[in-house]
Amino acid sequence: MGGVGNSWLIFKMLQKNARVRMPAKPIYCVLAVLVFGGIMLPCCVTVGVMSYVMTQALAEVGSRGNGILYEMQILSVFSMVFGMLVVFNMLYFSSDREHLVTFPVQAHHLMTAKFLFAYLMESAMEFPVLLAALIGYFAALAEGASCGAGALLGQVSPVSWVAALCGIFLVPLVPMLYCGMFSVVLMACLKRVRSAQTFYRISGVCMLGFAALFLYSLRGMGQINIENYVEALGSGQDLFLRTMNVIFFPVPWFTAALDEVKAGYLLLYLGMHVALFLLFVLLGKQWYQQGLYTVGALGNAAATRGARRPGRRHSLFVACLLRELRVLLRTRAFAGNCVYVNLIWPAGTFALFYFTSDHGNLASFVGMYRIGKERAELAVMLALLFAAFIATAMNSLSSTAFSREGKQIGLLKYIPVPYMTQLRAKACASAIFTMPALLAMEGIAAYYLGMSLSKIVFYAALMLAAHMIASAVGMLMDSGMPYVTWDDEYSALRGNVSTFFNMAVMMFAAGAVIGLSLLLYEALKWPLPAYSLLVFVVLWGTAVGTVLLTDVRILENMEDLDCG
């Protein structure tokens, strides 16, 4: 016995250790309110309204529950795609691993604790969204029954209430459990691989294959167009929905319990979660300890890298840049979350065009672009700009520029290199990993849209300006409040408020740039080339101004860095 208790103890210990430290500066409170009010709330409202509209539309064709089913399946896919790396690393590569395994706790209980921790951390943001989706659904129900919310409370069966309540917490659980099982099985298969490089390569390929599989199954989403989607969804013929109903098979049971008030399905739904969880624990019992041993024995095949070569002499800037690049590429957490994550931009763009360029809404859009419709061109330009802002914030290369140093942050101060050079090296590292991905994305879009070379160059210049703004703001935030007391690289990324806030600010910035550009375009009614030039001048002006201004502040912050 005692084992479950131990799982719980370790879970609590991990959770306590993950408390995010909010800096006591008022600006961070403002940012927190902005994030909540400006991102979380609109997201929830959008999802809620979507489920309201879909439920209403589908109620007319007699399959009311498919709207919420569709949303739940999309959320499942997202949980799975984003949870994969997190769970895998949490289970096998977090730095507390060596510490926790010496406790008298069975390996699979330790695994359960870590899994639950990862599940809560990953899904915390998803719970409100799920809640909003359900509220939208119930609102549509009340509307359909033409009664007020109060009367509805009495009408809806307890089965639906219980189902709704469970769904909020259980919908993200199944994908996470899949991630957990996949990790454990993958690790068991990699038992014979002893070299770290091979190991990372194989696990990287597996992850990519996995992501590709999911992108592939998402292709059904692009086929939807306004005319046929209600029909397709209503009849359950939608390809995406059909695929997902197989992969995340308990979710249809959830909607059956919720919408058709079938208590049997509710029991089945709950029972299946228990069963899947037990299966995961069972797999862990079989293979988790073995996997931990495998990780412990990984060695470096190329251990003598660079040892024999006499070091070439580099300039200060190049030396600093090389250091940044090497740390980023060779630290597992940074390589995945900061470097390779950029691949999703070209990959996503490719998937988007490849699967949908010959039918659906996107196809007609491509047609409009090709014949030179101004609105279409404007949309492409703004979409690329948006991607540049978000990509830069998302890889957190800039917003962890100082946090990455960790306990060695003092190094910045005692090496005899001007702060400006170090700052430039960090900014350059961010550009080196972000811009090629953005350009590749643009190239793919250019291929499918038939963009002219001059436009490609012009858009690239705009993206560079957006990248510079986002990167400068990210570094400014991180230099003011670097989070250096992390005990492993993953918490350096996750516990870092700058990363989070930079993302928030860039979403605002991107939204503002796009909103203003559209408004201005409608107001000015200039021809597009002239208007584009205006955007170009304003954006580059802002970029240069931002860089100059933030430089001053960042240098000051570096002076004041508290390395104690």
């Binding site: 103890l9 250790n17 408390r19 406790f103 706790v105 770290a196 470096n300 007391t485 992390w486």
Partner: protein, 239 residues
């Protein structure tokens, strides 16, 4: 009490870090573990504590195989790792109590031991602070207190003196002596030969993962008359 039989460990494909090493620490004994950097001390200790699985050989703690019966074996030792930087957002007290909970230490024992140990290490005032605000030595002390909270028969300490002030190092040495005098076993790694000389009943010198000397300090000195400890050590571990 602590028994290693024919331990071998390989990192990756070829990096043999420990090679057919056997030794035992009897009840009532303090054994010091010396050897140059990279000799394999930490690797051996990680095998003893179940972090790594020996490629060959086995480890018995209090008669229990660490791979086959991990739970019983793990209950029988206290382990202080070479790196005390873990779970830094917790306060010292929180960390110690979590560890005590995991080992199922009763509230009375826990209160007594925390009281005694924090006083000896002068940590009573700092326990409420998060560990991220501790100095290296304070973290090390917290790890030692937490490790000793369940008062197990075997202690396994990886360079426990590193970063401790003279008073704390003295207390730790006293604790080790008391513990051994009560019929328990202590194994610790160190680079300070004087500490090993004063404290240990026996010493084990490791070089390239192999044992180059096992025995008492006196024997070692009589084998190499007219040489200082340092000279003997360097002689054994060069080449």
């Amino acid at each position: 009490m602590i028994r290693a039989e024919n331990l071998t460990f390989v990192y990756g494909k070829q990096k043999k870090a420990v090679d057919a090493l056997s030794f035992a620490v009897q009840p009532g004994e303090i054994v010091g573990f010396a050897g140059p950097n990279g000799a394999g001390k930490t690797t051996v200790i990680k095998m003893l504590t179940g972090i790594l699985k020996p490629a060959q050989g086995r480890v018995l703690i209090h008669g229990h195989d660490i791979v086959r019966e991990p739970l019983v074996a793990k209950r029988a030792f206290a382990y202080v790792a070479d790196d005390p930087d873990v779970l830094l957002q917790l306060s010292g007290a929180e960390y110690i109590h979590y560890v005590a909970d995991i080992y199922g230490v009763s509230e009375k024992d826990r209160a007594d031991r925390v009281q005694a140990l924090t006083e000896r290490f002068g940590m009573a005032d700092a326990l409420g602070m998060p560990m991220r605000e501790y100095s290296h030595g304070m973290r090390q002390k917290t790890m030692i207190i937490a490790a000793l909270i369940h008062n197990p028969p075997a202690w396994i300490l990886d360079e426990p003196m590193t970063g401790l002030d003279p008073a704390a190092a003295y207390e730790l040495k006293q604790l080790m002596k008391e513990h051994a005098a009560n019929g328990n076993a202590v194994l610790f790694s160190t680079h300070v030969l004087e500490v090993a000389e004063k404290l240990c009943d026996r010493i084990l010198i490791l070089h390239h993962g192999q044992s180059v000397y096992q025995g008492t300090m006196e024997q070692l000195k009589t084998q190499h008359p007219q040489k200082s400890l340092e000279e003997i050590f360097i002689g054994l571990t060069s080449g």
